[in-house]
Symmetry: C2
Subunit: 272 residues, 2 copies
């Protein structure tokens, strides 16, 4: 229990390369992801309510510990872990591995500090069919319990890359044939215009910054293009996760035909 | 102070028809909205830091009360009201008034209970140029401090209608010439296909439900069409605010030309 409890802290997560999945939804995703669930803590109540999850854990040889609600509450960061907390192996992959899969749509979070925002972007990226999400070294820990929770299971679906420095990451993404588009409220290009102009049909990596600060000049300069989600009313800006949703879905419409299938990647430079 | 403090409760807000704007951003919007700011509580620190806001309050004849940080903290629901809390008159308008302005893009929230979600949708609606947001009687109070905060000032920009019953509201919206589109993850039509097919160019009112439950059958039946934001990956669903962002921006692209100007409303039935 104390080994699980210390995973509330980023430093211990990093040294153990393990994090907590809280609640039956997250634990179910964990047990369905081969080699991910290392240990399961469960109350008698939850064991009775989710027999399928507990049976799957046993089937995969995962140690299952019964614990009181009080003990579980002391491990969990969530208000209501619903009687179930799993210890999970880190899921992130090296950037090279993500790029070797010939991604056509990627997200790079340059400087996202709010775990709820980061998790929501991972969830939206999963929904939009994004191939990989990169969190640079200036971002919140993707294994932060609030981030895991906001991702609503998508952290177990989308390949994530963590700890990359932004400049070499952008260079590697571009070398893999993706166009690097920075999203910034003050960007010179309008997303709607770029969509209409057919500028989003090829492989794309979107770069998102910190909501409050936008993207620093140094990162905007790294991009092939800086694009804004246009503000038609009087709002000062969009919430980061909302802006990301709009950018990512606009790109899926550009990249996929009306039948929902992706176009052939014939625009990938030199990798056709 | 006690009159302001009681506005933390919905019942007192309703009887006083007043709510709290917390922090300089919200107070600035309030003082810029004629007749809205009724009273201002401010610390000596904040008075020195935001002299323009305090001067504007004086200019409009708004009573300004100096208060200690402790007293202000007891009024505010926010962790950091940054030394400034305003008492504001309710902003909502009758549905008839909103419809008389010939809206081309509206949002109807059928059953949104989370104040952060509701506020974020108001912010996104403002950004997308939505003409009015209706919150039915089953929704969270739009004047809830968390909702006001999540709207990031947009509550002061977008006309809001509150307390409407869903069936007559939908009927009135349709009678005003808007097509009623319900957003639901299980909807038969794909948003991308409807965009491509030109189905979003006329006046539209989007109906969003509760994130967890989606839209009940009774509300889906009221709509002209039930449309899903397609899930291309393995996510179970999108966050409500993210789904709303995608639906609203898709509609702005359909309704506006590449120059960002709205098309002439020549498709409004009988009102052109």
């Amino acid at each position: 229990v104390s080994a699980a409890r210390r995973l509330a802290r980023r430093s211990f997560r990093s040294s153990d390369r393990a994090f907590l999945a809280e609640g039956p939804q997250a634990v179910r995703e964990a047990v369905d992801t081969p080699g991910t669930l290392l240990e399961l803590f469960v109350t008698a109540d939850a064991q009775a309510r989710y027999p399928d999850i507990v049976a799957a854990a046993h089937r995969h040889g995962v140690p299952v510990h019964q614990a009181s609600g009080e003990v579980l509450g002391s491990v969990s960061q969530t208000v209501t872990p619903q009687g179930m907390v799993g210890v999970c192996r880190f899921l992130d992959v090296p950037l090279d591995t993500a790029l070797a899969a010939a991604p056509r749509l990627m997200v790079l979070l340059a400087n996202v500090r709010d775990p709820g925002n980061a998790g929501t972007v991972v969830r939206t990226a999963d929904a939009a069919g994004v191939d990989a999400v990169v969190l640079t070294d200036a971002c919140v820990d993707v294994y932060n319990p609030k981030c895991v929770r906001a991702s609503a299971g998508s952290l177990f679906h989308v390949p994530v890359v963590v700890g990359a420095a932004v400049e070499p990451a952008v260079a590697a993404v571009r070398a893999a044939g993706l166009r690097v588009l920075a999203a910034d409220g003050a960007g010179p290009a309008d997303l709607g215009d770029r969509l209409t102009a057919g500028a989003l049909t090829g492989p794309v990596c979107w770069v998102f910054g910190n909501e409050a600060w936008g993207l620093p000049e140094q990162i905007r300069k790294l991009a092939d293009e800086v694009i804004r989600v246009p503000i038609h009313g009087r709002a000062e800006s969009l919430n980061l996760a909302s802006a990301a949703a709009v950018c990512l879905y606009a790109t899926t419409w550009a990249q996929r035909g009306p039948d929902g299938c992706r176009h052939e990647p014939d625009q990938r430079g030199g990798q056709g």
